[in-house]
């Protein structure tokens, strides 16, 4: 039954990831390594949003890091300066991201391609600029400390935090899979393909662009909050260029428009520099070269490689000998 297949395909991957992820703290001894895996989850959440927005819907946003920072700062300010509880600050910060995304999305999504890239980039830069300058409110370039998360007096341990983030990431992946395997995913891809045709079929293009922009911004904000909690601090670097470069690298390495590209890319982008650190001063060059090699030789990222590895044939190998419709095939 196809619907069972759909449900299975939606949940199987995330379930497996949850299982493997749950074992990680048992295999990993140092707190530093656990933190790395948490960061992988965080980047996966961030890039899942980017993937939906750009990989599926074709809207290039170079400002996701702005929402990453916005979520982190809003959460931190509400909790420390505003003295809100965790359970109020979290949804409130996400709501702030959604509202800001709505406000700038409405005028912004009329833009196309390079102009959209520039406008979203400006957003990210404006946020970084304000965050690093408004010392009284945001702590300036030093940023702010994030109070540790407590539940009824008990401080959340690093392992518990990791499990929470892992769970959130898995839920985000399930949500992504749900969107992508139903009419929503098709609607998004139609935005990338042909807007006029999409509209003539009833897709409210403006509304859908806005919806996916808001969703991916909220996901970026969620990732930002997680990052702030894990790092126990938030600072303007959350909205700066290196994060954008990481997002783009993850997209390229993992594969755009795929379900698990974000996770695969995040694994590479977070773990590889640890290995590169041994190269010391050449680290930057090697990063750039690897990115370039991925662009050239694996344009569909690691996700494009996996079907080849498992030999799955996604398309029928042979085209029919003729393309003409036989009269007899027209059935009542």
């Amino acid at each position: 039954m196809k619907s069972l297949n759909t449900v299975r395909s939606m949940l199987a991957g995330p379930a497996l990831i949850l299982l493997v992820g749950a074992l990680v703290p048992l295999l990993v001894t140092s707190g530093f390594h656990l933190r790395l895996v948490s960061i992988i989850c965080i980047y996966t959440i961030l890039c899942t949003g980017f993937n939906l927005l750009y990989g599926y819907a074709g809207q290039i946003s170079m400002g996701q890091q702005g929402f990453f920072a916005l979520g982190a700062y809003a959460f931190t300010l509400l909790m420390s300066a505003g003295d809100w509880s965790f359970w109020s600050a979290l949804p409130a910060a996400l709501l702030i991201c959604a509202v800001v995304a709505l406000l700038i999305g409405i005028p912004l999504l009329r833009l196309r391609s390079h102009y959209l890239a520039m406008a979203t980039l400006c957003f990210g830069l404006v946020f970084a600029g304000i965050a690093s300058r408004w010392i009284e409110f945001t702590g300036g370039t030093a940023g702010m400390m994030v109070p540790s998360v407590k539940f009824s007096g008990h401080v959340v341990s690093r392992t518990e935090l990791y499990y929470a983030i892992l769970l959130i990431m898995v839920l985000v992946l399930v949500m992504q899979n749900f969107i992508v395997s139903t009419h929503m995913g098709r609607a998004l891809m139609s935005l990338r393909g042909d807007e006029t045709a999409a509209q003539s079929l009833g897709v409210n293009v403006t509304a859908w662009k806005l919806r996916i922009f808001i969703l991916s911004s909220v996901l970026a904000g969620l990732a930002g909050i997680a990052s702030a909690v894990v790092n126990r601090q938030v600072n303007p670097s959350f909205s700066e260029f290196p994060i954008l470069v990481s997002i783009l690298t993850i997209a390229v390495v993992g594969g755009l428009g795929t379900r698990y590209g974000a996770l695969l890319g995040a694994c590479v982008v977070v773990i590889a520099p640890q290995g590169l650190a041994t190269f010391g001063e050449s680290e930057t060059i090697i990063y750039g070269v690897c990115l370039l090699l991925f662009l050239m030789f694996m344009p569909h990222g690691l996700s494009g490689l996996i079907p080849k590895l498992f030999g799955r044939i996604r398309r029928k190998a042979v085209l029919p000998a003729h393309g003409v419709v036989k009269a007899g095939e027209i059935k009542p």
């Binding site: 005028p107 102009y115 400006c122 830069l125 300058r133 390229v252 750039g288 990115l291």
Partner: protein
């Protein structure tokens, strides 16, 4: 009165830099629809090579300038042959090639890091930095040279684009690459010209602006972003609109810094550009991009 003169002069100086980087980006875009994210790196190479040739190797000024230009042209060719061509052959989309130029920028920064280290270095000046009084304004020959060279390069670009038959080819490619190649225009020559000419301009910018900005291997990114903004502001259709856009950005930046808050000048500028794009989705002058759609 004096203050506005100082501000405008500062604006014009920075505007020359942003304008030329913007012109370069717009020019390359016109040839192949790709935004060259490594454009600022060409300026950086110009700046750092000046240190290498004039200070470290003690070459005479004119030889050093020649060497610097050779370096940036080589870099442009490496970019074109190592990044642009391979990606084009694989049928990559323009935005993918843009990420490729970003990768190239990272590599260039990495190489520069190995050669010159991470610290800010003093850059030797070609023209004198002696204070010069121009009426009520205080300036120096280097600064005037920047503005003068800006005007000169604009003129040169104008001459090339509008008074030579090759320039006609470039403009035709800018309007519609596919039809241009159907008409017999060699796209590869146009593209190569775009990269090399833009690199030369950026190298010259680097030689001139180095002493005023200082040399640091990470300086390329800001210039690329500002140049990209200038190109977008003017509208991606015309390199001259990009140059004008660059001057506009710098002048507004200087005005905000002078009369308003110099601290928030950058965020204000970025917000303004964002606001402009809200109302003019194709830049201030970018009507022909809109017409294409």
């Amino acid at each position: 009165m004096e203050q506005i003169g100082v501000i405008l002069l500062a604006g014009l100086t920075n505007g020359s830099v942003y304008g030329l980087v913007g012109l370069s980006i717009s020019l390359i875009y016109g040839t192949n629809r790709v935004i060259n994210f490594a454009q600022g790196e060409f300026v950086m190479l110009g700046v750092m090579s000046a240190i290498l040739f004039m200070v470290t190797l003690h070459l005479p000024t004119w030889a050093a300038i020649g060497a610097i230009l050779v370096v940036v042209v080589l870099a442009a060719l490496i970019l074109e042959l190592g990044v642009y061509q391979p990606l084009m052959r694989r049928g990559a989309a323009p935005l993918t090639i843009m990420i490729g130029t970003l990768a190239a920028a990272i590599i260039a920064t990495g190489i520069a890091l190995l050669i010159w280290g991470p610290l800010q270095l003093a850059v030797p000046n070609v023209f004198s930095l002696q204070a010069l009084n121009l009426g009520p304004l205080m300036t120096n020959p280097q600064q005037l040279a920047i503005i003068g060279v800006f005007a000169g390069l604009l003129l040169l670009t104008w001459y090339l684009m509008y008074r030579t038959s090759f320039g006609l080819c470039i403009r035709a490619t800018g309007v519609n690459p596919r039809i241009a190649s159907l008409m017999g225009i060699r796209a590869d020559r146009v593209v190569r010209f775009g990269f090399v000419f833009s690199a030369l301009i950026s190298g010259v910018v680097g030689i001139l602006i180095g002493p005023l900005l200082g040399g640091q291997v990470g300086m390329g990114v800001t210039l690329t972003v500002k140049g990209f903004m200038a190109a977008i502001l003017g509208g991606l259709g015309s390199p001259f609109a990009a140059a004008a856009g660059g001057v506009m950005i710098a002048v507004v930046e200087a005005l905000v810094a002078g009369y308003g808050s110099s601290l928030y000048a950058e965020p204000i500028i970025f917000s303004l550009i964002l606001a402009i794009l809200f109302f003019r989705p194709y830049g201030l002058l970018g009507d022909f991009e809109a017409g294409r759609r």
